[in-house]
Symmetry: C2
Subunit: 202 residues, 2 copies
């Protein structure tokens, strides 16, 4: 028996390779021709699988294009936040949270991240998916705030806090795009937080 620690077996490796191949093909084709001009059949062909298999990996074409799935906060980030950290000031910790979210959304590689952002800008329809994603994970985010509430009381309902997370995420992406992809997306977080606060307390 060789139960490989770091290795994951042929099956698992193939699965990952296929997933990557699908996302790569989807993003490349969509960037080349636009979302509506690319069919699932073509993506499947480019990824060397059957169209039917495509749907074993992703629930929809849109999900594949966004590479949705790699998209969660690390345990440390979550625990630290729930415990009232990392700084103890809510708004600062929120910024950290959003930055992690943006990084997770962008994906592991820098390049991949920019590509997703570029696609999102090119195909606003997909932003609807982003919203849907948020809806799906909303309960988790709310739960996170509920836990933090016990460590350090919140100034608002957990649901409202979750909405803030969402809007800041979205606004940061917007701001980043509007300024011509200047620097890292996360670096725009403080600015948008300031602006949103300014509007709401005007």
């Amino acid at each position: 028996m060789t139960p490989p620690a770091g290795d994951l077996g042929l099956r698992e490796r193939k699965k990952r390779a296929r997933t990557d191949a699908i996302v790569d093909a989807a993003q490349r084709l969509v960037l080349e021709r636009g979302l509506d001009a690319v069919t699932v059949e073509e993506i499947a062909e480019a990824a060397q699988i059957s169209p039917r298999t495509f749907f074993n990996y992703f629930e929809s074409k849109d999900d594949a294009v966004l590479g949705q799935g790699s998209f969660e906060l690390s345990a440390e980030t979550r625990e630290a936040f729930a415990a009232g950290g990392p700084t103890g000031r809510l708004v600062a910790d929120l910024e950290v949270l959003v930055r992690s979210l943006l990084a997770a959304f962008a994906g592991p590689g820098k390049h991949q991240g920019e590509q997703v952002m570029e696609i999102l800008q090119l195909e606003p329809r997909l932003l609807g998916r982003h919203f849907a994603w948020f809806e799906r994970h909303k309960t988790q985010v709310v739960a996170l705030f509920e836990r933090r509430h016990e460590a350090a009381p919140l100034p608002a309902d957990p649901e409202m806090c979750a909405m803030v997370v969402f809007v800041v995420t979205r606004a940061a992406m917007d701001d980043w795009a509007r300024t011509g992809h200047e620097g890292d997306v996360g670096d725009h977080v403080p600015h948008v937080v300031g602006q949103l606060a300014a509007v709401l307390t005007s």
Copy 2:
């Protein structure tokens, strides 16, 4: 020639009647059976039109269910806001704007409004459409803020202001739903504005 002032001619009247019939049928059926269990064919049949004609009135099934289209701010509201009114305090005027938006979304009749909200709660997928709607109209909202900026300088980019409009609208709907549909949706606006501000300035 009888260019009827108040009247609109048979053609126009029929068009409106049909639109209403479609929305009514769509909402009734969806409330009865759920979004996925209702086909366009059935809605068309209930509205006594052919399936093809359905798509002359609405771009998608979802649009029909939400009755999207009746969904714009009145000229007065817009002009007043652009001119720096109605109160002169940005956040207060924002609240007025959002209330108008919520009212427009709800539709003319009270009953219709609650129905839409009920459907939105029952079928979260449609919230994605709400987001899409916002994306489509975002430029208009941004333009509104740009105009206001000349009358009374804004504390943030027009785009950020538009994001605030969106998040407040959404948060108010949420809050209203969470408190068991208490009173009018619009009455929740001040509360959520306060909460969001509290989080962002914590």
